[in-house]
Amino acid sequence: MSTVTDKVPVFAGLAPLPEAKGRAGFGGALRSEWTKIRSVKSTLWTLAAAIVIGVGISALGNWGQSSHTTETAVELAHKDLVQRTMFGIILGQLVMVVFGALAVTAEYSTGMIRTSLSAQPRRLNVFFAKLVIVTLVAFVVGEIISFASFFIGAHFWATKGVTLTLSTHGALQAVIGGGLYLVGAALLAFGIGAALRHTAGAITLGVALLFVINIITNFMPTSWQNDIDKWLPYNAGSQVWATQHVADVGTSFSAWSGFGVYMGYAVIALILGLWVFERRDA
């Protein structure tokens, strides 16, 4: 942090701008939001952290499991090793929650929102431009995490004689799905962030919905778990990065219907967020 001083100039008038062309529309909002994302170090650090944690935990977990397993290659082949390679998503999703929440709550915590909405008072443009940029960035980062995790994990399991490639049954869909799942986590947090306008609150609620709630339901009676479990955001959403769809308890959704339920939660959060963003005073 440095405080800098500079010579105060005399106001010498402004060179007039050429005639305005077009209006401040969605295209401008998109370019503006992209500039916002790439020009703040904390965002870039958050994304880097998501990759390091997501891929790192995957690598660590698969290295540990593959080197300590007593199961044979034949037994292992019956397990969902594809999903296991992307184990780090469970923690990576939490960082994606931070990214998604910050993309909107940082505007409120810094006061930037008032400047942003002065430049673009048509709030739907701002909201959807932000949403598009967050989705694209989360998709790229999410796919990097899922693909890198898969290939690193496949390398470890190959030492146990199990060959995992993208053409393994359901593998390509699951690996792409891993990235999509992370996009969902960012969007859920984005919606919550727009609704709450508060960084800590949005992150806490996002983490609670994706992570803590699963721990809590473990303490519930088994009969309840059977009814509730598959509807939990993580359990529903994680079907899209699995190649086997039999949950530990009860039944599970198929890959895409599970993902649909999961994205349903994100959409509910986004609708709430949009409503608050559009209606409430900035």
């Binding site: 060179a15 401008g28 503006s32 916002k36 909405l117």
Partner: protein, 335 residues
């Protein structure tokens, strides 16, 4: 041109802005004066569409702010110099705004040079001093070469050099034919910069008139006379055609004359004088009286409203009389 019509904002039971009607015209600096909490910032936020009016409307050149094709090209506003992301560089902050309105990148460089931030344009704005943050805010306001500029308390916390710079900037912008709307809670500041004055107190517009008119109306003076024989002296002074008001403390307030002339009358009549003081009320006091009046009005304490012989108020023009505060309180302030 900014035009507010019956503009109202209610927070719960509190009226932050109460049916405000005013017009801000181009080519001059219009001061928006009111004590803290009077509704200045709320009004400015409604102008920019950040807050939604409870009722009424405000337009920019006849159009609501949110319908302006490229808002930054018509209105440049500095409401809060801290309304930036401290982690973003000054240059990128301006670039974000330029992109939103389709302004060329060259314009960012131009305004950075204009406010003298070129040497720190690449630095995080979070590390800026207050004065530099203020200049970044002004750069943002001027980015689109707007015909209307709006500043909320721009000199707050600035050093004298910064204050002078902003004053000159506002005058220069007005001289270029732009509409300049600037808020302050300091009458003294407004007296130096504003050509026109809109006074707000507890959300109500209390005055909307040219500065010269406000000064003429409000900078009154009178002579305070203390005498052991006020009952004899007062009629003699009134005979000369001067307005004389008797105060509860037996002193006299004499208008339209000078101390020497009163002394001459007293001497000629052989009456004693204990005090002969010329009391000049400043614009600051005029402003305080105006807004204090609105406070009392809203607090519902003006049961004796009208108080036609409220001495200090009688000569202060019509807008003031309706909010006449009680005489003794006002008298305290004037001294």
């Amino acid at each position: 041109m900014i035009q507010a019509t019956e503009l109202t904002k209610r927070y719960g039971t509190r009226l932050a802005v109460d049916h405000a009607d005013f017009t801000v015209a181009p080519g001059k600096v219009t001061g928006f004066l009111g004590p803290n909490g009077a509704g200045k910032s709320t009004t400015m936020r409604m102008i920019l569409g950040l807050d939604r009016p409870t009722s009424g409307s405000v337009t920019i050149n006849g159009v609501p702010y949110h319908r302006l094709a490229a808002p930054l090209r018509e209105v440049g506003a500095l409401l809060d110099a801290k309304a930036v992301h401290g982690g973003r560089s000054a240059y990128n902050h301006l670039l974000v705004l330029a992109k939103a309105n389709g302004l060329p990148r060259s314009r960012v460089d131009a305004v950075i040079d204009l406010v003298g931030l070129h040497s720190v344009a690449g630095k995080r704005s979070g590390g800026f001093s207050l004065g530099m943050g203020q200049r970044l805010g002004i750069a943002a306001a001027l980015l689109g070469d707007p015909g209307i500029v709006m500043f909320d308390e721009p000199v707050n916390g600035l050093d004298p050099e910064g204050i002078l710079w902003i004053r000159n900037l506002m005058k220069a912008l007005a001289a270029e034919g732009r509409t300049v709307f600037v808020s302050s809670h300091l009458m003294s500041e407004m007296a130096l910069t504003a050509d026109h004055l809109v006074v707000i107190g507890l959300g109500r517009i209390l005055a909307d008139e040219p500065m010269a008119e406000f000064i003429a109306k409000n900078s009154v003076s009178y002579v305070r006379v203390r005498s052991p024989q006020p009952a004899e002296l007062a009629p003699k002074l009134a005979l000369r055609g001067w307005r004389v008001e008797r105060q509860p403390d037996e002193s006299l307030h004499v208008y339209d004359t000078q101390p020497a002339q009163i002394g001459d009358v007293a001497g000629a009549e052989g009456l004693w004088l204990h005090e002969l003081t010329l009391v000049q009320s400043s614009l600051e006091e005029a402003f305080m009286r105006l807004t204090a009046g609105s406070v009392e009005y809203h607090a519902g304490q003006s049961d004796d409203q009208g108080s036609p012989d409220g001495p200090a108020v009688a000569g202060w023009g019509t807008p003031l009389e309706s909010q006449a505060p009680q005489a003794p309180q006002v008298e305290e302030r004037i001294q």
